[in-house]
Structures are given as C-alpha cells and as structure tokens.
Amino acid sequence: MSPRVAYVHLPRFPVQRRVLEEPTLAGQPLALVHEAKGALRVSFASGAAQREGIRAGMTLTAARALLPALRDGLHDASAEAGALSSLAEGFLRLSPAFMLSAPDGLWLDASAASLFGGEVGLLEKVDAQARAAGYRARVALASDLFTARALARFGAAPRSCVGPGDSGSALAALPLQALEDTPDVVASLRALGLSTLGELAALAPTQVISRLGAQGLRAQRLVRGQDEARLLPAVLPEVVEEVRTLEAPAESLEPLLFALKSSLDRLSARLRGRQRAAVRLTLTLVLEPAGPVSIPLALARPTTEPKLLLDLVRHRLESVRLDAPVATVVLTVDESSEDRGQQGVLGDAPAGDAALETVLARLATALGPAALGSPVLADDHRPEAAHAPGPFRPPCREPGRRGAPLPRPLRFRTGSWSVRSGSSPARASRWRWSWTRSGLSARRACSGGAEWCWRSLGRSGSAGTGGASRRSSATTTACTSRDWGLPGCTGGRVRAGSTCTASSTEPGRAERLRPERLAGMHPSMSPDGSLPRLGRVLLVSSDPLVRAGIAGLLAGSGTMVTVEPGAPADAVVWDTPSAPPPSLGPGAPPVLALVQGEQDARMALSRGAAGVVLRSADAATLQAALLAVARGLVVIEHGFGSLLPAPEARPAATAEAFTPREREVLALLARGLSNRDIAEALGISAHTAKFHVNSILQKLGVERRTEAVVRAARMGLVTL
C-alpha cells in the first residue's frame, strides 16, 4: 500500500506573507513583481488586484494602467522558499517529514495520522496550525502526491480526504488545469475538446499514446491515481535563524517589536516542530549606516514560548541604546535543548507560570545566568563543598490538574491488562505490559512492576527489540526475548539519550539498552490498552470438538481461525493428542502446542514447537500465548519448570580444596586486610599474597574479596 500524503496549499503564499508582515496591506490591491527581460512583471497578485483584472505575467506598467492605486513589492523567490520551509518546519509537530512544492504548497507525510484522531483529524490540525501561523490554507489527503496536490489546489472543498482506491474518481471532476507540470499536454487535450481530468482518464491508453506520446500516457496515469512519485523528505537547515528586513528602517521600539513578534512566532513554531527549546538566542540588529549589533539573550530555562521571548526581548531592548535606525533583524538560536515541555513550573494559576518564567528570564538576562539558581546539597565532608548551585526547577504543584497538554506530537502510553491463569486458578497472576516511548517511562514501568517492557529502537519504521522481564513467582508463562520485531512503527520525532535496564530471564544477565531514537507504539495495540489482535491462526487438530472449542475461544478476541493446511497464518495451534505434528518448513508460522502433561510438552518442543500450553488453558491465556509466539517469543507453561534451561551451577568448593597457606590468607582476608598487609603479616611478598587471593577467589567461584569472605563464612572456612 502506498504511503498516505497530505498537501497543504497556501493560495498566493508570498502575498499572504507580505500582508502578514504588513497588516496595513490587508484588502488592498497588491502585486509582487519580478524582473524578466528588462521589464517588471507581476508574479503574484492579491485577491483585490485580481478582481481588477491583474494577472500573473502582466507587466507592472500594464497593471498600473488598469489600477493606478496598485501597490507593488519585489518578489524574491529564494526568500519566499526560505519562509515556506520555515513554515513547513512547524508542521513537523504533526508529521514526520515534509516536501516543499514551491512557491505555495508542501506535502506532508500523513503516516502518523492515527495519533491525531485519524486522517480527518490530522487535516483539521494542519488547517488549524496554518491558521495559527496566520495563513489561509487548503488541504487534501490522498495516497499519491498528484492527487493530494490537485485536490488541494483545484478541489471544491477546502479540506478533502480521499481513500486509498478512490483517487481516480476524486480527480474526475477537476479541470485539466490541474496537470500543471505538462502544459503542452493540457493544450493538446483542450484542442481535442476535453475539459476535465475524468475525460482524460476514460480514454483508452493506446489512443493516448498514439496522439500524445509517452508524456500523454504519463499524464493519464497521474489522473487515474497511479502517480508513482514518492515523498522525498526535505533536509532541515542546521541553524535555526529568522531574518527579517524591515520595510522602512525602524527608529523607535514599536515597529521593531512588531517585526520581532512575527519573527519570534515563526522561530517558536520551528523549534516546536523540531522538538527543541531555545536556551540561548542572539538578536542581531543591522543598523543602517553603522552595521550589525549583536545582543545575546540567555534564557533562565529552555523555552519555546513566543510571548515570554518577546517579553524578554522587549525588556532587553529597553536597556540598549541604539544610535542608528534598524534595517534588518536577525534572530539566531545559538543553543537549544530537548524540549521537555513546561514541566516543573509552579504557580497559583497558569498565569503564574508565565510570571515565573518572565521574572526568571529577566533576572537571568540582567544579572547573568550564574547569579540565580537553587542550591543542591553535595555529599562532602568539607563545608564549602557541601553545596553547589543548581538549576531552579521547582516541582509541579498539581500534576494532575495542569491545564494544557504538552505540545508534543507523540506521547507515550502505558496500559495494563491482566490475564487470569487458567491452569492454576488459586494463583491468579496479573501481567502488566507497558509499551513505552521513552526510556524514562520504561524505567517507571519496570519499577512499577511491569513484567514486560516493550520498547522499540532505531529510526521510525525500523524493527525493534523487546526486553522482557519476568517475575517467576507471579507469572504463569515464561517468556524469553528472542527476536521481537515491531513492524510498521509510525513515524515520529522522538527523544533520545535515555536508558533503561531490562532484566532478561537468563539468570544474572541484564541488558542495558540505550535507544538512539525511539519510535511509535505498536500499531496493532488499541489505544485503550486492550490486547493486540492476531490476524489469522491455523488450527491443527483431528478432533472436531476440539476444533470447535478452540475456534469458539478465539472468536471472542476477533482472531480468524482456519483449518486449511498451508493457509497463511500468524501462528499455528497444534493439539498434540489428536493430531500429528504439522509440517514445519523454513518460514512457517510458529507453533503453539496444546499439551496434556510434561511428557507431551517435551515431545512438542523437540518437534519444533515454539510454545507449550496446557489444554485446559482459558481464552485469555491462549490468546496471550499465541500473541507471544507470533511475536517470536518462547512460551512455556508455568508448571513445566524442568523444561527451562537450568541455571549454571557454581563450582562447589569444599574445605579440603584449600591449602593451609590459602586458609591463612583467607583468615586475613576476612579481617579486611589488603594484599600488602597480608604479605607483611605472613612475611611473604605482595605478589605471592595476590596469587593466593586469586586462587581463593577462583576456588570459591567469586569475583570480589568481600564476596569470597561471605561465601567462606557461609561454608564455615572462616569465623567472622
């Protein structure tokens, strides 16, 4: 299936941007001109100008003749492309990637739509975001680039969403003009009397080729919804910078602040899209004759709040004396950090947060960031080293009642479900699964008693690894993490650098995982935390009663059950007493065996089954076991502990194994002496003492001296 894309069309983007920067132009006839062949020609005209008959491509002289009151400005294509790119960065909150379509549109990767209330919800959010940035937009979502763009630009509705197979019918009513890239084909088709894309799509391909050649066939494929072009994600610029050249050099603070406000809004949107928060900014004011003046702005804490930043800039500018008018304003983010949202802000009301932020930023700017902080105590015996300045991060006052959610596209979810063990009803066990999006929450889930921790590593869309931890006393089924692929992770920009320790079932081994980038939650997991569903299960049993019973058990969970041998399936259920083992070729689905006892289980495992469960298992256990098997885990019923590999036995050392000298060394070791002290006490060299100690450690099968002493004391070799 082709990936879904959304197109955001910003009608007459350069004109909208000009009006946004200069609100007095709103409603006025305006034309943006460029120089071509020695004449100024109109490249974009505002709505008011178009009503007077001014079109793109006209010379400015002709436009002036039509409308003497026309206001004009120079169109700088590269600056517009930069502005479009910075606007697009703001959409990264909603989409993992974008591709620009200069001069007035962009495609967004819509694969993360499920996180924003479906595709319709995503379109609404995109529209709202464009409106928040001050732009009018038309959006469309489809399975190919051409359909999305054509619908957004020429469709009747401002928002449209086309299903995967409906591209052709949705495009049918659009005018031929939508084939913008091939004007020759459009002219030929018009000459042939066609007017809509549907008419072109209905022609026989042989006719199209004979009349219009390969170009025509390509156009026909486009209008039939068979565009094969793929979205190429745009590369983000390294430095976040906003340059604004003022219309007229600003002599006072007011016009400067007005320009800064829009610049800061854009800067904040870009930072939020990147999930970064500004730590240090530089405001560079280019004075008309004098040259640039740099004003560093240090923030008390990382932030993306444009209001707070503007407040800070205003405060800073009030204390700066400029001796020439300002022509250009450049805002550069020198240092940014991961955006943790507004965590840990304490105040009486949401307004209190802003007040705290403002006063902290103001003090940090005026006094320097080193002048304020919260003391942190250090464990040191020297009084002067017992404390150190730290950052001021007050705890959240009412974490549950904080109003606005964090502006973050993807949030981790933690859910739990429980399975009652059918085989041992007296020991009802509770499983908790946590599927997490960050190391922190994974750690929290681990400490909260979650038996399994799902986490996915690598870039979006790549497979991940599962760290499974188990509490043998509470679970019915042992799971070994073998190879846990998480396919189809939805794309998203995520936080990095956190760690989590997940203990595995093998004794004494713990994996330490450091995700570089974490990706989305598993798509088959429903948001309310219920079990993920299996697609299809093949049932191998010759007993019709058993077949009916298992099909009935699994039907409640929405799993499809088939008995046809060789049918594609996610997992196989093999009823061992009634049927011979199913044939297991390479690439065959994993087999879960239903057994009557341990003997059966051993036989099933030797025949290649990935899991063994008692035949008396109930629906939830069966479903969980099937799911685990399908995900590449080994499932073993709790009672069959002997099937698990025995832990590696430690070498048993006896008192007879030690030489008299080693016993002496052990006795001194128990007193806490160092190698050198032992050597002096026994009148031997330190090397010899070390040799004896190593030999003792080896014989006791331990790694540390303390461990050796404890073990020796338990064995009665030394008395403490």
Partner: protein, 277 residues
C-alpha cells in the same frame, strides 16, 4: 454535640482530622507562621502577614535569617515558592533543610552588583510567583532609598507576597512591620516589635537559640561523629604494618632515606650577615 462531649474517641478523631487538615498544603495562605509559640504570640496576627514588608533589624548573627527561614518553611509546606536575594553572599544552604526548607523550591539570587539587590527583589516580588522573598542587605553597605522602599511596599501589597528585609543595625529601612533582634549571649535572643500597623509595638520576647534552630549550637558536640564521641576502640591484635628498624632508630625518613632537618646542610650565616662567600 452531647455525644461528642461524652465520647473521648470522637473527640480524638476530630482532633486527628484537624491535625490532618492543618498539616495538608493549604490553598490559601494569609500569613506565614514561624512555628515558635513565643514569636507567633508576639506578632499581631499570629504570624507574618502576606502582602507586607517585614523588616528584621539587627546585628549579624542575631537570628534574623533563621527566623525568616522558619516562616519560609511554612510557605514551602504549602507548596509555594520562595526566593532569597543574598546580598552578603553568606547563605549556607546545608543549614536550611533542618529548618524545614525545601531547597528545590528556593531560588537563591546573588546579584554581582550591590545596586542590583533591591531591583532583583522588586522583580521577584512583582511577579507574584513567590510567596516569600528575602532580601539580605547586611554587610553590603547599602541603604534603601525612600522611593525604593515605597516600590517594595507597593509591590508586596499588589502581589500579595511577603518580603523579609534583613537590615543591619546601623541602617534600618522602612518596613511595614519592623522587628528588632538582639542577641543576648549564648542563651538566646530578644525580639521586639518596633513598628507595626496592627499595634502591639514595644512588646518583646526572649527566644532561646535551641528553639530557633533544631539541633543548634548546644548540640554541636553530640552525635556519633561529634566532638564528644568516644575514641574508637583499637584492637591490638590487628597486624598493622610493622615499623622498620631504621624508622624506630632514626624516626620518620623522607624520600630516598633522607632525614629532613638532619641530612640537609644548614643555611650558612654568610648570606644573612651580608658577607659574600
């Protein structure tokens, strides 16, 4: 009511409930109590009222900061923030947690210039984000000008925050409530209300140090690691490193067997006498 009067269990439950309610963080704060019965009894409202400038006026080491932090601890218990503008730079944070201060809720500001002290306190107070702000002016040689004092009072009134103004004995400021603190030797200190809008001026009270600081000066020698701790028992059976024969004979020796003070040549008198060798 009748049953309550007769049933001690009900009374005890009610008392317990009252204690729980009092211990819980309060949504609305109108004053900060110090938790010291003599001090709270002395103050007109039973505590330091919010929205005022409280001036603690006295010599260094007369207990001004300790008294202020006792009140700030009450704000911290109510999950409010506090800030301390440390003029002399002598605030010692490890001493604060025993007073009930939560360091993560305390913002310490140390402006590099003394003239920025009052400005910083004014900004903190105006923001309304801090329930209590302390401004320590001792040992800075700074005296608040009348406009500055007025601004501080106005900011406290508007934002509802409490400003503790710690002023040295030689330079009193213009607080709404002024308390004079005087250390009276090793036993304690004397607290006197010099100025108050709610009355009660010229009342005074003696506060012992021990009450002001839990585990204070009288407890210095106590504890397992204090000065009064008995010496650690020495086990003679422990085979400590034997002293070498040369160490026993010659005393401690330096690197390469040198004996400092004995093997080195003595400085000659010639240089001291000005006679060139």
């Amino acid at each position: 009511m009748e049953t309550a009067r007769t049933d001690p269990a009900v009374l005890e439950r009610l008392r317990e409930r009252i204690r729980t309610l009092q211990a819980a963080p309060r949504a609305l704060l109108s004053m900060l109590r110090t938790g010291l019965p003599p001090v709270d009894g002395l103050l007109p409202g039973g505590g330091f009222p919010l929205g005022q400038v409280v001036e603690l006026w006295g010599e260094p080491a007369s207990g001004r900061a300790r008294l202020a932090f006792r009140a700030i601890a009450e704000a911290h218990r109510a999950l409010r923030l506090a800030a301390w503008v440390d003029g002399p730079g002598t605030l010692y944070p490890p001493a604060l947690p025993p007073l009930g201060i939560r360091l993560e809720q305390l913002l310490v500001v140390r402006p590099p210039e003394p003239r920025q002290l009052a400005w910083s306190a004014l900004q903190l107070l105006r923001s309304g984000a801090f329930a209590a702000v302390g401004l320590d002016l001792s040992r800075t040689g700074l005296r608040l000008s009348p406009p500055e004092s007025r601004r501080l009072v106005e900011a406290a009134t508007r934002s509802g925050g409490l400003l503790f103004l710690l002023t040295p004995a030689e330079a009193p400021a213009d607080g709404t409530l002024r308390l004079r603190l005087l250390a009276t030797g090793p036993r304690g200190m004397r607290l006197e209300v010099v100025r108050s809008r709610q009355g009660g001026t010229s009342r005074a009270v003696e506060v012992p140090w021990q009450m002001l600081t839990p585990g204070g000066p009288s407890d210095v020698g106590a504890g397992p690691r204090g000065l009064d701790a008995p010496p650690l028992p020495v086990d003679p059976a422990l085979p400590f490193r034997r002293a070498r024969a040369c160490t026993v004979r010659d005393g401690p020796i330096g690197i390469q067997g040198q004996r400092p003070g004995r093997d080195l040549p003595l400085p000659s008198f010639a240089q001291a006498l000005g006679v060139a060798p």
